[in-house]
């Protein structure tokens, strides 16, 4: 099972959890497993089956949009991080 980190803004949809576990070999499979147990998360993270433009998904520290998107592989030891799109600091 891989580890999923949930940002504060999405925790209400997963009963307040900060970290969850889910199984699957790709980002799409991991998210599907997560949505099965936490259906309220689906509408917040995806739009028409694609990642919402306001949510960024990382496997470990790399943004999946610049890899293989939802097909990006996820290993058992990997951490999937969900983050809202935000203005960076440093401005």
């Amino acid at each position: 099972m891989s580890t999923i980190r949930i940002p504060p803004v999405l925790r209400e949809t997963v009963g307040g959890s900060r970290v969850l576990s889910a199984s699957g070999g790709t980002v799409a499979e991991v998210l599907a497993d997560l949505f099965a147990s936490h259906p309220a998360l689906r509408d917040r993270v995806t739009e028409d089956g694609e990642l919402s433009p306001f949510v960024n998904v990382y496997v470990n520290d790399r943004d999946v949009r610049y890899r293989d998107g939802l097909a990006t592989p996820v290993g058992e030891e990997d951490t999937v991080i969900l983050l809202p799109a935000m203005a960076g600091g440093f401005g």
């Binding site: 504060p8 919402s52 990382y58 520290d61 809202p84 960076g88 600091g89 440093f90 401005g91």
Partner: protein, 321 residues
């Protein structure tokens, strides 16, 4: 000022604004993973107020004055986590514009002090809302008072243009064979502007963003509907995007100082962390990283001296990037 070339090397500048840009680039010989992979750092801390934001502040204000959007003596209002505000405060003071900066209340004391020294007024926004909170407060203030002029670095095309016309050409002049460029992601202006120039001049170059993993206590948004992709960010120029924890940024920051003698700000530590990963995956080539500011505005935070665990915990609730 407009039309006046910035001085290079040891020449004199006609005024302080003309001294913005043309920053030095140095090779990081000790941190390079092999003789065939060279790493170069562009030192934006050499700008007049100590950060790369002098470039975009000058560009946005000159643009607005030229178009008439900013009238003589009109007050400038801007959301900023520090550097852009300080640059605008310096330029506003020189050109006769009062400056108000909306800044999260959990940044370092040096930033507030510098803003006040330049005569700017500081309006605090809730630190827990991060930069998004500062943007929200500034937008409300601007909507309520049409006499305020907001350059709005997140949506102002003069921001990436300053980098496309200035920073990018300077990088290619210093390192003509650049293969990868790494910079921090804030407004997106640096990566967009430099990225556009590099992609034109060096097809095949990789443009890579380092972004902060937000602190657990600074997650910025009250709801996802407030999610925000800065309008100036052109994601099509990015080839990869890495999240960097505060801990890794701090380790990078200390390496810069102890290994290469470079005293830089926290985002530079994160950029180094990513640049070293990129360099490690290359068999040969040149990596250029951009160090956005010097370390002076972070001294009070003890980034170089305090225990890493203690700092990491404290940074979860502040905005130092």
């Amino acid at each position: 000022m407009s039309g006046v070339p910035a001085a290079a090397g040891t020449g004199s500048s006609p005024d302080l604004l003309a001294a913005i840009g043309n920053t030095p680039t140095v090779e990081l010989r000790h941190l390079a993973p092999s003789p065939k992979v060279r790493i170069f750092a562009k030192l934006e801390g050499a700008n007049p107020t100590g950060s790369l934001k002098d470039r975009i502040a000058r560009a946005m204000i000159e643009d607005a004055r030229a178009s008439g959007a900013l009238r003589p003596g009109q007050t400038i209002l801007e959301p900023s986590s520090g550097n852009t505000g300080i640059s605008l405060a310096m330029i506003g003071a020189l050109l006769g514009h009062p400056v108000r900066i909306v800044m999260p209340d959990n940044t370092t004391a040096e930033r507030s002090e510098l803003l006040r020294l330049y005569g700017a007024e500081i309006i605090s926004s809730p630190g827990a809302e991060g930069s998004n909170g500062a943007i929200r407060v500034a937008a409300d203030l601007a909507a309520a008072d049409p006499d305020l002029f907001m350059p709005y670095q997140y949506g102002n095309e003069a921001n990436p243009r300053a980098h496309e016309e200035g920073t990018g050409p300077e990088i290619v002049a210093a390192v003509p064979e650049v293969d990868a460029f790494v910079a921090g992601l804030g407004t997106g202006g640096t990566l967009t502007g430099v990225g556009r120039y590099l992609k034109r001049m060096r097809p095949g170059v990789r443009v890579i963003a380092a972004e902060p993993l937000p602190g657990e206590r600074v997650q910025g948004l009250r709801s996802l509907d407030e999610g925000f992709v800065p309008p100036v960010l052109d994601e099509s120029v990015l080839d990869d995007r890495y999240l960097v924890s505060y801990r890794d940024a701090l380790i990078g920051l200390r390496s810069l100082l102890h290994v290469e003698g470079l005293f830089a700000g926290l985002s530079s530590g994160a950029v180094l962390h990513v640049a070293l990963r990129v360099a490690a995956e290359m068999s040969a080539g040149n990596v250029v990283l951009l160090l956005a500011d010097g370390g002076w505005k972070y001294l009070s935070a003890g980034l170089w001296t305090r225990d890493l665990d203690e700092l990491d915990d404290e940074l979860q609730g502040s905005i130092l990037w």
